[in-house]
Amino acid sequence: MGIYLFDDRWNSYNFGLFGLMALQHRGQETAGLELFGSPRQRMAGEGLVDDVFRSISGKGSICIGAVSPYPPGEGEVQPIRLSEKVAAAIDGRITSVEGYSWDETSGYESNLRRAFARVGGPGLEDLKRFFGSCRGGYSYIAANDSREMIAGRGSIGVKPLVLGKMGFDGGIVASESCVMDIIGERVPISPAENIEPGETRVFTPMSAYSEQLQPSAGTAYCSFEYIYLARPDSYVNDIPVYRVRSNIGRKLAEESPADADVVIGVPETAIPFAMAFSNETGIPVEKGFELTGRRIRSAMKPNQLERLKGVQLKLNVISEAVRGKRVVLIDDSVVRGNTLANIVYLMKEKGAKEIHVRIGSPHIVSHCTFGVEVPPEDELIGKHLTEEKIAEVIGADTFRYLSLGALEEAVGMKGADLCTGCFSCKYPEV
C-alpha cells in the first residue's frame, strides 16, 4: 500500500494505519510502514497491525506500508530498504532481475538490494529501470526521499494492484480496492482503478502519470486471490471477488451435489461459497460456528500448533445447527488437511449425521513460485491422495474438489489468462 498526498499539510500516518488494517487479511505475521516526512520514519514489527502500531505515531504526507504472512525469521519485515534512500513494499515474488545473476546463497532481500545497486542511484528513473528489469509474479510500491513514488505490477500481473483517489489531494495504491472504501474517497461507481500488468503509476510533486514499464506478454492473474487471499468486498482485476465466490458455490452445487439438510461454510472465507451453494440447491444455509478471541486467518499461521489453536478457537461448532443433520460443509481450499479433519471431528462430536465436504478450489499440488504461502509438496494432501481417500482420512462421508474448468468459469477467464500453478504445477513463463 502506498499513499501519496501532494499537500504536505496532510499527515498520511492514520490513513496508512487503517489502510494496512484493511489489508490485514493478506498477512498477519508482520506489519510495517515507512513515512516520508522529515525525518523519514520506519515503524515495523511482528504481529497484527493493531499491535505493531499501538501507541506510536508518525508524520509525513507520503507513506508506503505492507503486511506479510511470513514470520520475521523467513525474511525481512516489509517495507524493505532497497538502498539507504529507497524503500519498497513488494507483494508476491520477484524471481529474477535482468542482467543480474541471483546469488542463491544469500537472502531474497540482499539479492534485490544488490540488483538495485547495479542500476545506479535512488532517482525516479533508476526506480523505473530497476522495476522494469524485474521478472516474476509481483506488484510493488517504492518511494525515495525526493518525494517520488512508483507503483506497478509485473509484466504478467500475477499480483493485483489498484489506484484510488483522495479528492484533489492525492492518490492511494493498494493490493485491493477495499482499502479505498476504508481510507479513500467514496466514489459511487467503482472504488478503484485497476493497474494493468507491466504498468506503473508515477507520482512526483509536479506530476502523476501512467507508464508501461514492461510490455505485457499475456496475463497470469493469481487465481488464489479469488479463492482465498482477497477480501470479498474487493475488486481484483476489475472483477468483484464476491461474485467469483458466489459462482464457485453454484459450480460446486452443479458438479458435486449432495443429499443434505443443511449447508455450512467454514468462516470467514467459505461463507459466500456456502450461501451460493444453498441458493442453488435450496438446502438451507446455517451458521455453524462461533468465534472465540480475535478474528485471525488460521490457515496463514506458520506452524501446525498455531493453525490448530486458531481453528479450535475460531470454530466452536454450534450443535443446534448440525445435530442429527446431514451437513454439506464447505471450505475454500485444503492444504495439509489436518485443520479440516479437526473441523469434521468437532462437528461429528456435536451430532452431525453425515458430513459432505465440498472445497471451493481444485486440489493444491504445488508450492507457489510467486510467494503465496504454500508448504513443501510432500505436505500437500491433495498431491498424494484421492478424493475418496481424503474423505476417509478426515472422517467425512464424501469429499469433492471444484474442477479446474469450473474455477476458470467462475472467475470468467480462460485458463491461459489465469495463473493456476498451485493446482496444475504449470506456472507462466516470465
Binding site: 499539510r9 492514520n14 490513513f15 487503517f18 484533489f168 459511487p188 461507481i189 509536479m206 502523476a208
Partner: protein, 507 residues
C-alpha cells in the same frame, strides 16, 4: 465595417476571436491584454486591427483604447474586468459592451451572495452553505459540524483555493478536521489576500457528488440562449487524480453531452430534460440578480452545474463569462454570426436571432508546462514551439479533417513565444463522437514542445471511451437517486433526526 475590441488574452479569448473573425461582417479585431497572445495577434494583424498591452481591469484604460480604435463594441473575455466595473465605465462612455456589469457580475464574484440569492428566490439546485468573515468565526463550525464539505474563498479568486474534503470516516476525522482548519485559514489569509471588495472571506458548502458540467448562456437580460453543455476536467492528472486546476480540458457533444452525434440520445451524461432544467436554473438566476440590482445583464452567464443525488441539476458556481477551456468547445461550432449576436445583445433584441450550433463532438485538451498549477513560477518563461505541419498532419483523421489549437497562457516577445505559467496551449479536436474528437485533440498535443527541454503535460484520458463511460455511469447513479426523491416529493429536502431535539428539515 465593424470594429471590435476584445479584452483578455487567454485560450478563451483566442476562441472568441476566431468566432468573431468568422463573421460575414469581416470585422477589424483589436485586442487588449496583459500578455501578447500569439494566436489573437495573428488574427488582429490579419484583419487590420491593433494589439494593445495594458491593464484590462481598468475601466479608463479599456475605454481609452476603445475610443482610440473607434470600435463599435467591446467583448470582455475574463471575469476580473467585470468585477472591476469595466463594462459600466464603457457604457457610461457610450460604447456597447458584451460583459456583465459590476452589480450583476456579483453572481460570480461573490459566491456567498450567489447562494444568498439562490435561497432567497428559492431557485432549485441550492446547496447548504455557511459564510464567514474571519477564520476565527469558522473554527467552531469546522470543529463541531462540518463533515464532508467544500471550502471555498467567498470571492471568485481565479478558480483557485477550493478544497473538497470528504469527512465521512470517523476514524480519520482528526486528520481531516486539521487540514480543513488549515485550509480555511489559508483561504482567509492567502487566497483572499488583496481582495478588499467583499465582506465575506470563506464559504463552506455541503459536499455533493455527481458529474459536473457547464451550461454557458448568451443573454441580453430578457432572452437567455443556452449553448451546448460542456464538461470540464479539473484534476491536473490522468484518471481524475491530483491537484485542482483551472481546467485541463473539456468535452461536448450535442446539447446534452452525448457520446456521439449518431448515437442514441440516451447514451449521454445528461438527459435533454436535465439540460433544459439546467438552462432554466441559469435563467432564474439571471432574473433574480436583475430584480435584486435593477441592472440589465448583457453578455454571458454560465452555470457551473453538477447532477447530484439531492437535487438533480445543482448549481456549484456561476460564471459571468465563458469558461476556459469551455469556450474552446462552443465557439468553434457556433454557426450563427457572433458579431450579429453581440449587436443583438447590446440592442436587447436577442429574441430576434436564432442562435445555432453545429451538431458535432468537441474535445479540448490543455497542454501545460510542469509546475502548473502549484508552481507557476517554474512553469513560466519557457520557449514554446508548435509544429503547425506536424500538428495539422497529426490531427487529420481518416476523413482528412483537422482540429485546431488555441494559444492560452503565452507571451509573444520579439520573435519567440514564452510560456506564461498556466495552460499554454489548448488543442481542439472536432469529430462525430467524443472519443474520436479526443483522439484528434490528442494527436494535436504531440506538436507542442518547449524548446528548452522543460516538460509539458496534458491529460490523455479526457474524452476517452473509458472516462466517458465512467461519467455516464456516475450520472446514472445520481439520476436514479434524485428521480426517486422527486417521485417521493423529497427533491432538495434534507431531514435529520437530532436525538433529543427532534426532526430538522431543510430544503
Amino acid at each position: 465595417m465593424a470594429k471590435i475590441l476584445l479584452v483578455g488574452g487567454g485560450g478563451r479569448e483566442h476562441a472568441i476571436a476566431e468566432a468573431l473573425c468568422r463573421s460575414a461582417k469581416e470585422p477589424k479585431l483589436y485586442c487588449l491584454s496583459d500578455l501578447v497572445n500569439p494566436g489573437i495577434k495573428k488574427l488582429v494583424r490579419k484583419t487590420g486591427g491593433e494589439y494593445y498591452q495594458g491593464d484590462t481591469n481598468s475601466g479608463e484604460t479599456v475605454l481609452g483604447y476603445a475610443r482610440r480604435a473607434g470600435v463599435d463594441f467591446v467583448f470582455i473575455g475574463p471575469e476580473e474586468p467585470n468585477f472591476h466595473g469595466v463594462p459600466d465605465r464603457l457604457e457610461e462612455g457610450g460604447i456597447g459592451v458584451i460583459g456583465a456589469k459590476r452589480k450583476v457580475a456579483e453572481l460570480e464574484m461573490s459566491k456567498a451572495s450567489m447562494r444568498d440569492l439562490q435561497w432567497k428566490y428559492k431557485i432549485p439546485g441550492r446547496l447548504w452553505y455557511k459564510k464567514f468573515k474571519t477564520f476565527e468565526e469558522a473554527v467552531p463550525y469546522i470543529e463541531e459540524y462540518a463533515e464532508s464539505v467544500a471550502l471555498k474563498p467567498a470571492r471568485q479568486a481565479g478558480g483557485k483555493g477550493v478544497k473538497v474534503i470528504e469527512d465521512f470516516q470517523v476514524y480519520l476525522q482528526e486528520e481531516k478536521r486539521k487540514v480543513k482548519k488549515e485550509h480555511a485559514e489559508s483561504i482567509v489569509r492567502e487566497f483572499m489576500k488583496g481582495y478588499d471588495d467583499i465582506d465575506y472571506k470563506l464559504l463552506i458548502e455541503e459536499r455533493v457528488w455527481g458529474p459536473e458540467y457547464t451550461v454557458q448562456c448568451l443573454t441580453d437580460g430578457r432572452t437567455v440562449v443556452p449553448m451546448p453543455a460542456v464538461q470540464d476536467n479539473k484534476h491536473a492528472f490522468d484518471g481524475d487524480l491530483g491537484l485542482e486546476t483551472g481546467g485541463m480540458g473539456s468535452i461536448s457533444c450535442g446539447r446534452n453531452l452525448r457520446w456521439g452525434i449518431g448515437d442514441d440520445e440516451e447514451r449521454a451524461i445528461l438527459t435533454p430534460a436535465e439540460y433544459d432544467r439546467s438552462a432554466e436554473i441559469v435563467k432564474m438566476m439571471i432574473d433574480a440578480i436583475q430584480k435584486e440590482t435593477g441592472e440589465r445583464y448583457h453578455g454571458i452567464v454560465a452555470g457551473q452545474m453538477m447532477l447530484t443525488s439531492v437535487w438533480g441539476p445543482t448549481v456549484i458556481e456561476m460564471y459571468s463569462r465563458l469558461g476556459d477551456p469551455e469556450a474552446g468547445n462552443v465557439m468553434p461550432i457556433l454557426k450563427t454570426d457572433l458579431v450579429d449576436i453581440c449587436e443583438a445583445i447590446i440592442g436587447e433584441r436577442l429574441n430576434t436571432i436564432k442562435v445555432e450550433f453545429e451538431e458535432r463532438a468537441t474535445v479540448v485538451k490543455a497542454v501545460c508546462p510542469e509546475g502548473y498549477p502549484n508552481r507557476r513560477d517554474l512553469a513560466k518563461g519557457h520557449p514554446v514551439s508548435v509544429s503547425v505541419a506536424a500538428a495539422a498532419a497529426g490531427a487529420a483523421g481518416p476523413d482528412g479533417e483537422a482540429g485546431s489549437i488555441f494559444w492560452a497562457s503565452a507571451d509573444e516577445i520579439g520573435g519567440s513565444v514564452l510560456s506564461g505559467g498556466s495552460r499554454v496551449i489548448e488543442c481542439l479536436g472536432i469529430a462525430d463522437s467524443i472519443p474520436e474528437a479526443s483522439a484528434r485533440a490528442e494527436r494535436l498535443t504531440q506538436g507542442v514542445t518547449l524548446t528548452d527541454g522543460w516538460k509539458l503535460f496534458h491529460r490523455k484520458d479526457i474524452g476517452s471511451e473509458k472516462s466517458l463511460s465512467r461519467r455516464i455511469r456516475l450520472a446514472n447513479m445520481a439520476r436514479d437517486i434524485y428521480q426517486y426523491r422527486e417521485r417521493k416529493g423529497l427533491l432538495g429536502k434534507r431531514m435529520i433526526w437530532v436525538p433529543g431535539k427532534g426532526l430538522e428539515e431543510v430544503g
